[in-house]
């Protein structure tokens, strides 16, 4: 994984996690570009789009686009399902997640991301384990 982006339809970034070195200008540019390629796509289109030398696997949940940028050789469906897995965890954690949860609890979302993805790879896929870890962290605070 090169980066994970969560954007709404207007292009506001709700989460950005980078696993590759970019400077700030470059990040901003990437965010805009991703928004441009992803939002124009029809619901009947595939969930994959080529992007620079990578590809973006994206999935839309209500008004939010969850985008994962991966290498072209990576397994599209695996990442598509990883997104879904991630969303399921969020849903469980926030009890019926909505965009505002991500806005106000962005730090928690980052924690979830860190639990599930690490060093640009899928780390933990077991939802029960992730949730257990998350609750444990939360109990400390």
């Amino acid at each position: 994984i090169r980066f994970i982006l969560i954007q709404n339809r207007a292009g506001k970034t709700r989460l950005a996690k980078w696993y590759m070195q970019f400077d700030d200008d470059e990040k901003q540019k990437l965010i805009e570009e991703v928004h441009a390629v992803v939002t124009v796509r029809d619901a009947k289109h595939t969930n994959f789009v080529e992007f620079r030398n990578f590809k973006i696997i994206y999935r839309r949940y209500a008004g939010l686009y969850f985008c994962i940028c991966v290498d072209v050789t990576d397994n599209n469906l695996a990442y598509l399902e990883a997104i879904h897995n991630f969303v399921e965890v969020l849903n469980e954690y926030f009890h019926n997640v909505c965009e505002l949860d991500l806005v106000f609890n962005f730090y928690k979302v980052y924690t979830v991301v860190d639990e599930m993805f690490l060093a640009g790879e899928i780390r933990e896929t077991s939802q029960t384990k992730v949730l257990k870890q998350l609750l444990m962290l939360q109990s400390l605070e």
């Binding site: 080529e50 469906l77 695996a78 598509l80 990883a82 106000f104 896929t125 077991s126």
Partner: protein, 1097 residues
């Protein structure tokens, strides 16, 4: 630094919601300043307002954090707001230092962002966890050695989550600096065998990377990976790892990828994994994306490793499932899988051809692109045209530059349609006017830069394209002075490499530009210069230009801007000439007969014209298309008509053939409306049937499709046709059923053996082959004999033996070797004489042999008759004839027809009783002949009553039917005397049979441009074709390549290596001869000789 800030995130919960620790994750309290900030930002409507607000916020934060009175609590809140601003992309670096200060203040929460090392050594689980997470983020390379030992320690940690994060941190290090973690490879192995699944799974990331780098080093682990996969697939993992009741799918995928890398090109390792792959395929049966993800990976692995047919079959079926799926994602992945496997299994593409065709026009660009990718991979010599038509240019610049490359590389060998279509495209443009102008302007600029370079050579066709575009559209580049363009064109006119054809293009372009400029020095100069040109064409153009320039209004009307596509109304019936014709007729002129009518009348004795292309008669060996390119000999005029681009015509025909089944948009008359082309095209049903053939041959899915062919709509039919053209030549047996068709279409120059080869091979080599065969003939037909000749030149003959007993005979009738007319005798003689020579071995060429009677006659003579040295005696040669003689000396000549040259053996015979000194033989320079080596020879001494001998090798330089090679011989006896002589050489002395196969003949025929045709009457004595041909063979030394029916093909070469091909056809007592040769005079000369021998015999 921003890392540090990001890390501070972890500290946030306590800062924001300490009052409600038990409330769990919830909305922020409304009173929170961050909450209000976020709320106000979300309420804003424009980016501009947001900027303003944030600037305000940052300014107030700045003041607050710097103020010494700010409490710790307030500081924390400021930090959070700062972080939020930072996240929105605003500069807030001033806060970093405060963040660090805060971090150092020592309570547990802040310390998380403090020094890593300290955290890593902590015994607190959460702290270690956080530290490891940070380490796994983007991490500076220089810091790795500092923390590496700490992380290594963590590999032994009792908590699995710590071990796991440690492994992943090491993975990160491996990505950043593989060398630094080299020494802990055995620890990775330990991690792989960890009792916890998570740790093992984490280690797979490292293994995947390492195996990507070097798969051979980890072959021993294959069994472990297979075992793990088996357990995962078998559901041995804790239920926690199930995702939608699929056991650890991501882990499976990871393992499959590793196995694929390990088994690649390694039959033994692959052997180990066949079972588990089979099981994976079998188990993944739930209809869910994640199972498809596993299936996809499985298929990829199966096609990557050493193949096993059983698995391949299953994988192919699986790909079918993907491709035929209604789900767009799966369809896309199916296409992707097809792209990967298509080279190994082209039949698979055939099975799914209809899906592929449908996807070509899919609204999703990524699917379209993938489909094009498939087409690209199945491109071969036979379908390349159709496939390329499906591609498109991304933008103007790319298009023009690519075309420039095509023109410079392809040069004048390009099919003439390419520049024509290119110009047509430029001229006609698209719907968008602005776009058109951009494209044209880009082209103009591009060509101007190209022409700026002095002394660069461009192919004529490219030049013509550039010139036309400049002439037509140079005014679009408004910033370029037309004078500059005119100067460029003017300088081109003076270049020697520019052909007169191109010069005409230049003049046309200059005229067009002139019509748009008021007055120009260059034009005046140009008119002046070329009005007195020796080239009548140029002079004509110059005068036209001059007159046009005098009447600008007329000129503007004549040359409107951008009107190249407008229809010009032409009175094709030339009705305005009617008056003239009537007048002529009334004065008794004969009514005009069109060319073809005259031809028909001339051939009226013939019952039926044979318009069958001549190549068809040997369809088995030569593909007919090549010869179809030319019309039948009888359809063309008699005599010689040379056509400069006849070779191109041949290409053209084949190209049109190739497009079978494709809607023909352009015909001779221009654009063909769609309906018309559908109705009146004879080859359409053929193409459709060709599609059926294809469909019928492949397996189940499309076979059923083809059953419904009859009920298909028009559109479907079109798709079928497209399919048949696209998938031509794919698959092992694909070619066979269609061979006749496709082969004619594209691979006209292919040798028989190559056909089989290419049908089985992949497209890469296929293209190479067809390339090679296209260019082959050029190389083949110009055999370089020079070296051979040089080799022979140096073989000196030994001294001729003295045969004084023999007599000279000086019968002039023997000068031309036609004294023997009985074929029987001929055969016998040539048999005995020619056997050792390959070139003449099977061709019964008439060779002179002195008749016994002649020998008897000459026996009376006194002087010695020279005879050839033994090694020459065996070669075909003429009679020894006397060239000149005096009291003292006689000079004799014998022509020896060597394979590579004509050898003149000259014998100087001393008739006197004393020796002759300083005998000098010199040939004068002759117009038509070239004597290899020196034209002179000196015999220092010729003993009394003896004969000396010298040899000269001659080639024919300029073609003539008969020519004279004059010379003189001087010698010293009592006084210096000189004898003059001349040697008569005929064209036939330099003609040698040329052996070739019928195929080579076909190739060569097409590549030759000069042709001559003639019908001659055959004598009753030799009314059969074979009789006529054998006459030609004997008398003219032609090689009979093939005889089929009433047609025959013969080949010969003029020394050293100019080929001449002859095609003969008999009909009602006539023999139609059709010569072709690269040299224009040779067919004429040979024709003359043919007529002569046919009349004589």
């Amino acid at each position: 630094m921003s890392d540090v800030v990001e890390r501070t995130l972890s500290a946030l919960p306590a800062l924001l919601g300490p009052q409600h620790p038990a409330a769990g994750p919830g909305r922020l309290p409304a009173t929170s300043r961050l909450g209000s900030l976020i709320r106000s930002i979300t309420a804003l409507t424009s980016k501009h307002e947001e900027e303003k607000l944030i600037q305000q916020e940052i300014a107030s934060l700045k003041a607050m954090v710097s103020a010494p009175t700010t409490t710790l609590r307030l500081m924390k809140e400021c930090m959070v707001r700062l972080i939020y601003c930072e996240m929105l992309g605003y500069e807030s670096s001033f806060g970093y230092i405060h963040a660090i200060k805060l971090a150092q203040q020592g309570n547990l929460l802040e310390k998380r962002v403090g020094t890593l090392g300290y955290d890593l050594q902590s015994t607190n689980l959460v702290e270690v966890c956080m530290a490891l997470t940070v380490v796994s983020q983007i991490f500076p390379r220089e810091m790795i050695p500092a923390v590496l030992p700490l992380i290594e320690d963590k590999l032994q940690h009792s908590k699995e989550i710590i071990r796991r994060k440690a492994v992943q941190a090491l993975y990160k290090f491996y990505l950043i600096a593989p060398n630094q973690v080299q020494h802990i490879h055995d620890k990775f192995r330990k991690a792989l065998c960890d009792r916890d699944v998570g740790v093992m799974a984490a280690s797979l990331h490292i293994y995947l990377e390492m195996i990507k780098e070097n798969s051979s080093g980890y072959k021993d682990l294959t069994e472990s990976f297979v075992m793990i996969l088996k357990q995962v697939v078998g559901g041995k993992l804790p239920i926690d790892f199930n995702y939608h009741s699929v056991p650890a799918p991501w882990l499976q995928i990871q393992l499959l990828r590793i196995l694929g890398l390990l088994g690649k090109d390694d039959p033994r390792t692959s052997e180990l994994m066949y079972d588990v792959l089979d099981e994976s395929l079998r188990r993944a049966e739930i209809n869910h994306n994640i199972t498809y993800a596993i299936l996809f990976e499985c298929v990829q692995t199966i096609y990557t490793i050493h193949p096993k047919s059983e698995l391949l079959e299953k994988a192919a079926k699986c790909i079918g499932k993907f491709v035929l799926s209604p789900k767009i994602n799966l369809k896309y992945l199916g296409l992707k899988a097809l792209t990967c496997v298509i080279q190994q299994d082209p039949n698979l593409a055939l099975q799914h051809q209809m899906t592929i065709i449908e996807c070509l026009d899919h609204p999703d660009p990524i699917i379209k692109k993938e489909t094009l990718e498939i087409l690209y991979r199945i491109t071969n010599g036979q379908n390349v045209t159709v496939i390329v038509q499906k591609m498109y240019a991304p933008d103007n610049g790319w298009f023009i530059q690519t075309m420039n490359a095509v023109f410079s590389v392809g040069g004048d060998a390009l099919h003439p349609d390419i520049p024509n279509n290119f110009l047509r495209l430029l001229a006609e443009g698209f719907d968008d006017r602005k776009e058109d102008e951009q494209l044209r302007t880009y082209a103009v600029r591009s060509y101007l830069t190209l022409l700026e370079e002095e002394n660069t050579f461009y192919p004529q066709k490219f030049l013509q394209v550039m010139i036309w575009v400049l002439g037509e559209y140079s005014s679009l580049a408004t910033d370029v002075d037309p004078e500059i363009i005119l100067t460029r064109l003017h300088s081109l006119l003076k270049k020697t490499f520019v052909t007169s054809d191109t010069k005409a293009w230049i003049m046309a372009a200059v005229t067009k530009i002139a019509s748009r400029t008021s007055c120009s020095k260059t034009i005046d100069k140009l008119i002046k210069e070329f009005s007195s040109s020796l080239d009548t064409c140029m002079r004509q153009h110059a005068f036209e230009l001059k007159h046009l320039c005098e009447d600008k209004v007329l000129m503007k009307n004549l040359l409107p801007f951008d009107a190249s596509c407008n229809d010009v109304v032409v009175d094709a019936s030339l009705s305005f000439l009617d008056g003239f014709v009537v007048e002529g007729l009334s004065h008794g002129a004969a009514p005009y007969k069109p060319h073809h009518q005259r031809q028909e009348e001339k051939l009226s004795q013939e019952k039926a014209l044979n318009f069958e292309p001549y190549g068809l008669s040997f369809a088995s060996s030569v593909s007919s298309s090549g010869i179809t390119g030319r019309q039948s000999p009888t359809g063309l005029s008699f005599g010689s008509d040379t056509s400069g681009n006849s070779a191109e015509t041949g290409h053209k025909e084949t190209n049109t053939l190739k497009l079978e089944g494709i809607r023909k948009l352009w015909g001779k008359e221009g654009y063909l409306p769609k309906k018309e082309s559908k109705a009146g095209k004879p080859d359409e049903p053929q193409a459709a049937s060709c599609g059926n053939l294809l469909a019928g041959r492949v397996t189940d899915p499309s076979a059923s499709q083809s059953d419904q062919v009859s009920s298909f709509s028009e559109e479907e039919k079109e798709k079928q046709q497209l399919a048949s053209t696209l998938f031509v030549g794919l698959g092992s047996n694909a070619g066979v059923s269609l061979m006749g068709k496709m082969d004619v279409a594209t691979q006209k120059f292919k040798r028989k053996s190559k056909i089989n080869e290419t049908q089985n091979s992949e497209e890469a080599s296929d293209i190479q082959n067809s390339d090679a065969s296209t260019f082959g003939p050029l190389l083949d037909t110009v055999p370089v004999n020079k070296e051979d000749c040089e080799g022979n030149k140096h073989t000196r003959l030994r001294k001729p033996s003295l045969c004084s007993s023999d007599t000279v005979e000086d019968n002039l009738a023997f000068e031309t070797p036609q004294s023997l007319k009985k074929p029987g005798l001929n055969d016998r003689l040539s048999d005995s004489r020619l056997s050792p020579l390959s070139l003449f071995a099977d061709s019964n060429i008439e060779i002179f042999q002195p008749s016994s009677s002649a020998l008897c006659e000459s026996a009376n003579k006194t002087s010695s008759v020279p005879s050839l040295p033994k090694e020459l005696e065996e070669l075909p040669h003429s009679e020894v004839v006397e060239l000149c003689q005096s009291d003292a000396l006689a000079l004799y000549l014998c022509k020896v027809w060597k394979d590579d040259s004509l050898l003149l053996a000259l014998f100087a015979s001393n008739k006197k009783g004393s020796a002759l000194n300083a005998v000098n033989l010199v040939f004068e320079k002759a117009e038509h002949f070239q004597i290899l080596e020196s034209p002179a020879h000196q015999f220092s001494v010729i003993e009394a009553q003896s004969v000396e001998h010298c040899q000269k090798y001659v080639w024919m330089d300029k073609i003539c039917t008969q020519g004279i090679l004059p010379g003189s011989i001087s010698y010293q006896s009592e006084m210096e005397s000189c004898l003059e002589f001349s040697v008569t050489l005929s064209l036939l002395d330099f003609i040698r049979p040329m052996e070739m196969t019928t195929e080579d003949f076909g190739k060569l025929w097409l590549s030759l441009s000069n042709d001559v045709k003639q019908n001659i009457k055959m004598l009753p004595s030799q009314d059969s074709l074979s009789a006529a041909l054998s006459t030609l063979q004997q008398k003219l030394k032609l090689h009979i390549v093939d005889i089929i029916g009433n047609e025959g093909i013969l080949a010969c070469q003029l020394l050293p290596s100019v080929p001449c091909l002859l095609h003969c056809r008999t009909y009602s007592g006539m023999l139609a001869l059709w010569f072709r040769s690269p040299c224009s005079a040779l067919p004429d000369g040979l024709l003359y000789q043919c007529q002569k021998v046919m009349e004589e015999s």
